[in-house]
């Protein structure tokens, strides 16, 4: 028995539901020594800004139980270098999603415009970075500002647009509905949780930026909760992100309503993680007699048996 692994994420046909999370996969070719990139659903590249950007001073990362903190500061090569150098290096057949970031709505829209006409299959608008001074999370927390951002990026883009939402909000369902109402094609969630950790020896924050984002297996149940709430609130497809390490983890997200998933921090501990998750998800489905992965989507039973 073979499993039909194909899914459609907001107009983007994926050979399987497993993508890589932005910021954890570079621009893709860093992983070419470890596996064939065409075998996963696609890659979401590092968030791009209009101009190249230097990140935060170190320390930028810290390990915590079952997770890690980061405050990188959206260091990236800029959208032009991405188009001229990074994108052409990726083999044909790799589905590429570009992550877009700006410090104001105009710069978000301008990055979307520059990407128009390129081979990127979709844009993911990063409305949720928790560790930069301006932009990012503040766009994803205020429904009125988020609506404006979705409108502007949707208008500027020539391919489907997904909005990447923050978990640092009170009502994820409301923000999901705002995105859908303004024409977003899909959602991605969650970005990292805004956190703080302390070095007791120095009595200083462990990160130079003081605040950072928590990722890794520690955040998986929270991500499942938010994906479940968001996917029930909207019709557009949701990509589930947060602590995925295995095919079984990915299957949980599908059951909670995700159409696709992204593997993030696991890429650091295992450079083959995304492919391992894709293969593990297929093996899980096969073991359950599931012939199409789409049959798992939203299959969570909450009533007593």
């Amino acid at each position: 028995m073979s499993v039909d692994t194909r899914v459609n994420w907001g107009g983007v046909a994926l050979r399987n539901p497993v993508l890589t999370a932005s910021g954890t996969f570079g621009y893709g070719m860093e992983f070419a020594p470890f596996f064939d990139l065409t075998r996963i659903g696609g890659i979401v590249a590092k968030s791009l800004t209009l101009e190249p950007r230097i990140g935060h001073p170190p320390a930028r990362i810290a390990e915590v139980p079952s997770g890690m903190l980061n405050a990188i500061g959206l260091e990236n090569v800029g959208v032009d270098a991405f188009l001229n150098e990074k994108l052409p290096a990726l083999p044909e057949g790799v589905t590429v999603v570009a992550s877009v970031f700006g410090t104001d709505i105009e710069s978000y829209a301008e990055v979307c415009k520059r990407l128009a006409g390129s081979r990127v299959a979709a844009l993911e608008v990063n409305a949720s970075c928790p560790h930069v001074k301006s932009g990012g999370m503040e766009f994803g927390q205020n429904p009125r500002v988020l609506a404006e951002l979705v409108r502007a990026t949707r208008q500027a883009a020539s391919v489907p647009v997904a909005i990447k939402l923050s978990p640092n909000v009170t009502d994820i369902a409301e923000l999901a509905r705002v995105c859908e109402g303004e024409g977003a094609d899909a959602l991605s969630l969650i970005n990292t949780l805004q956190v703080l950790d302390v070095d007791l020896k120095t009595r200083r924050p462990r990160l130079r930026n003081t605040l950072g984002g928590l990722s890794g297996p520690a955040i998986l149940p929270l991500a499942l909760r938010m994906v479940w709430q968001a996917s029930r609130a909207v019709r557009i497809p949701v990509c589930g992100i947060g602590g995925i390490q295995s095919g079984e983890d990915a299957a949980k997200f599908l059951l909670c309503g995700a159409t696709a998933v992204q593997v993030g921090t696991a890429n650091y501990t295992n450079p083959r993680a995304a492919l391992d998750v894709a293969e593990g998800l297929e093996a899980f489905a096969e073991s359950q007699g599931v012939t199409r992965l789409t049959d798992l989507i939203g299959g969570l039973e909450t009533e007593p048996a």
Partner: protein
């Protein structure tokens, strides 16, 4: 050299006195590595229960490839290395590597300065340039020294300094460097160890007009240039990634006062 990801069998994981340990891993497909390159090690990947804590792999210098095994020297300093120390023969440790850019070729005399666990980055370099190398090893105490017998067996010139004077000369290894550079001409310094030791080595080398290369050890999550956690401040602005642009840098490229 292309990098591998392999779950390698532990051939031996032995106590070498104090907190020092030597891990020998069977990596039959090892593509070879240049002196100064490193690996990311995840212990316990094949344990019977899934392990997420500690989560991240640990960067370790390739000490050498010897008797068909990849060797790593390490000290138990925290939870990651404690877990690594628990790996028994026959168990698996995930290896990603070889990674990074190693020490460049040089001419003339090589002064290799190793402090603490930084010593482990220098063995292959000493082996490459055996006749021209003078190895200077420093540690707090005799029991903290790593790999002393291996360096001695290479037949390279070897000098030791310990802070408590328990072996070799008493004091810092950088004092040995200062003394060597007073008489050496056309020497290149290669240093790996704690940041203050590398910075002092760089300053001493600069004072004597010698080139100096350092191997930085910033914490990192991925080792392959994607997490951007291991940023080291550059003297000419911005950041270099220790894993991708290093770990070996010309000491002049590093903005020492901004190093974490």
């Amino acid at each position: 050299m292309t990098s591998l990801r392999v779950d390698a069998e532990v051939a031996e994981n032995r106590d070498e006195g104090g907190a020092n340990r030597r891990l020998r891993l069977r990596v039959p497909d090892w593509p070879g590595s240049a002196p100064g390159q490193f690996v990311m090690l995840s212990p316990g990947v094949r344990s019977s229960v899934e392990r997420f804590d500690p989560l991240l792999p640990r960067p370790m210098a390739v000490y050498r490839v010897h008797d068909g095994c990849l060797e790593v020297l390490y000290k138990v300093t925290g939870r990651g290395t404690a877990l690594l120390a628990d790996a028994r023969s026959g168990e698996r440790v995930r290896v990603v590597g070889p990674l990074g850019k190693g020490f460049p070729e040089s001419v003339g005399k090589c002064l290799l300065v190793g402090g603490g666990t930084g010593i482990a980055s220098l063995y292959d370099l000493a082996a490459r340039d055996r006749e021209r190398s003078h190895v200077l090893l420093g540690a707090r105490s005799q029991r903290d020294l790593m790999g002393q017998e291996d360096f001695a067996a290479l037949g390279v010139a070897l000098s030791i300094a310990t802070e408590d004077g328990s072996t070799g000369s008493s004091g810092l290894v950088t004092a040995l460097l200062e003394r060597e550079l007073e008489t050496a001409t056309n020497a290149t310094v290669f240093a790996c160890g704690p940041t203050p030791m590398m910075r002092a080595s760089a300053e001493i080398a600069a004072k004597h007009g010698a080139r100096c290369f350092v191997s930085l050890e910033n914490p990192m999550a991925c080792g392959i240039g994607v997490c951007q956690g291991c940023a080291a401040p550059r003297a000419n602005g911005g950041y270099a990634l220790v894993c991708r642009d290093g770990p070996v840098f010309d000491a002049n490229e590093v903005l020492w006062e901004a190093m974490p």
